[in-house]
Symmetry: C2
Subunit: 329 residues, 2 copies
């Protein structure tokens, strides 16, 4: 295992410490229990909290800040955060308008966020994200997995909360957005969990895993390496079959790197996706390309489509000021 690491059991703490030191203008790191919170709160707004296993950076900590999350609770690598992290985060960032938890659909995350929600004294609600169309149930999941589309939910609901919407409105909007987001990924290589010290799965020199999960969970099929156009075709066919966007839908396209794939290839994959969608008469209105929901050092990428209505477009464009996304302010 070759990683920038000192000790396996210090990986998360040291990575988070570096993150917090690098972005001390925007975020603060709380220890015991661990969570990342905004440096500057917006008084009186609904507090948005997300979290999940680490190894997917910049998700979720990189999206803490103005216009997105109020706090993020990182678990150990590929391990759910604990209810005490979520409760402490809620207590720290609730300013009286209640707390909205944004949860990716994994059994452990869901159970722990549910426990936190029950014990949380503030009024609260949960938005469950399950955008991965690859498989119906999976290794750690009943129902579909939550993957890269989660950052779109966080951005859109974050904007709505920032504008003063109440808890009920934020929850309803979040549920609305979730229904309009669909994703699917492909792996060229497996990531390596530091504590395991070896790749999560083995894959041949000329093989790819189509529909892979962000923890290396199996997808739909193991295939021979194929041209980018063919990969985009398989992913987008599955996504469009599921999402069924209207012919005149305003699409947000997210090309997400899984950690080990450089930007030059992600742009090439976007070029393939762009051609595929245009050939079928779809209109791309917004684009995001980058490694935003990773699986440690996995090589590969996912595609996400989000069908934007006017409100969602406005929320996507609104100002955001986080370590990872910054625009319009």
């Amino acid at each position: 295992m070759k990683k920038f690491i000192n000790r396996v059991d210090h990986f998360l703490a040291e990575s988070l410490a570096g993150f917090a030191a690098a972005h001390a203008d925007l975020v603060e790191l709380n220890l015991e229990p661990v969570f990342v919170r905004r440096k500057t709160a917006t008084p009186g707004k609904v507090a948005l909290i997300s979290g999940g296993g680490s190894g997917h950076e910049p998700l979720h900590s990189g999206f803490v800040g103005y216009g997105m999350l109020d706090a993020a609770c990182p678990g150990q690598v590929f391990t759910s955060p604990t209810p005490d992290q979520m409760m402490a985060a809620a207590q720290a960032v609730d300013s009286g308008a209640g707390v909205l938890f944004i949860v990716k659909n994994y059994s452990g995350d869901l159970m722990n966020f549910e426990m936190a929600a029950e014990m949380c004294e503030a009024p609260n609600a949960t938005v469950l994200v399950n955008d991965d169309v690859a498989v119906e149930n999976s290794s750690y999941t009943t129902g579909r997995r939550g993957v890269a589309g989660t950052m779109i939910v966080e951005k859109l609901v974050g904007s709505m909360a920032e504008s003063g919407a109440n808890l009920e409105q934020c929850k309803a909007f979040g549920d609305h957005v979730v229904k309009r987001v669909a994703s699917m990924g492909v792996a060229f290589s497996s990531g390596t969990v530091p504590a395991a010290g070896k790749p999560t799965f083995t894959i041949g020199e000329d093989e790819i895993e189509i529909g892979v999960g962000i923890h290396g969970e199996p997808g739909r099929r193991r295939a021979r390496i194929a041209p980018a156009d063919a990969i985009a075709d398989e992913l987008l066919t599955a996504i469009v079959d599921d999402l069924k966007p209207a012919a005149d839908a305003a699409l947000l396209v997210l090309v997400n790197g899984l950690g080990g794939t450089p930007l030059s290839e992600l742009y090439l994959l976007f070029n393939s996706a762009h051609a595929w969608l245009r050939q079928r008469g779809f209109t791309i209105r917004r684009v995001q390309v980058g490694s935003l929901t990773t699986s440690l050092d996995m090589a590969g990428a996912s595609l996400t489509l989000c069908s934007l209505d006017a409100e969602m477009m406005k929320r996507w464009d609104s100002a955001v000021q986080t370590p990872t996304l910054r625009w319009g302010r």
Copy 2:
């Protein structure tokens, strides 16, 4: 070779087309000859042009926009752009105040930019970046290589040009900045040039290349994999020995991923660098962490220190609006 690619000889064109389509609000792609230019020019300012072999994305195209470059000329992968690209870019973006070429010190780049400068009808000057302290001469270089520090030069000089400084002032400021930037990198794996189809160099399962170049050029030594703290120590010792920042220097620290290394590890490496610098009494005033000057899919990272004076700090903080860097506007 597993990459998002359709045909080896279409890699650059398709990646650039995807880039330009994704960022059509900020940039335009010119074909025959190929260059990327700002969508919206600032009239009457000195035009900044950079370029170099592709494979280092987002350098340079990702830094075209308000407050940074006016145009970027991408060559084929690891191959210098040609003088006709540079001349066409200069003609397109010169608005009467002259052209400043920002060139990484590689023999091919230097020769072609010199030819373009000679033939260019507009008044022009060149800033040569040679921030890599690892080796004095190298495979493609007489003198030190230009690496990740280049984006700092582009940001700072870009801000000065945007504020209305003339060509002489921009050139002098660029030369001043170059003297205050030093970098060194380490590779865990080799990138794979699409046309070659196999890694540029071989490296053992437990080996790293300390001082590697951004084309996979040899560095100072081949070593056993070491803890992040030890790697940071070796890189920073070399950088500080060369840069000799004053004890009260205001440092900008850039942790740059080489393409195949995820953000979580870059933050951990920053944590190591942060501790190292603080232990020696240095003050970190600005931080940038990300994969900004890559070597295709190489796993590894580089560290860059820049010793900021008051003018440079102001120029770093000023507004920038490019596909890759955005703040303050």
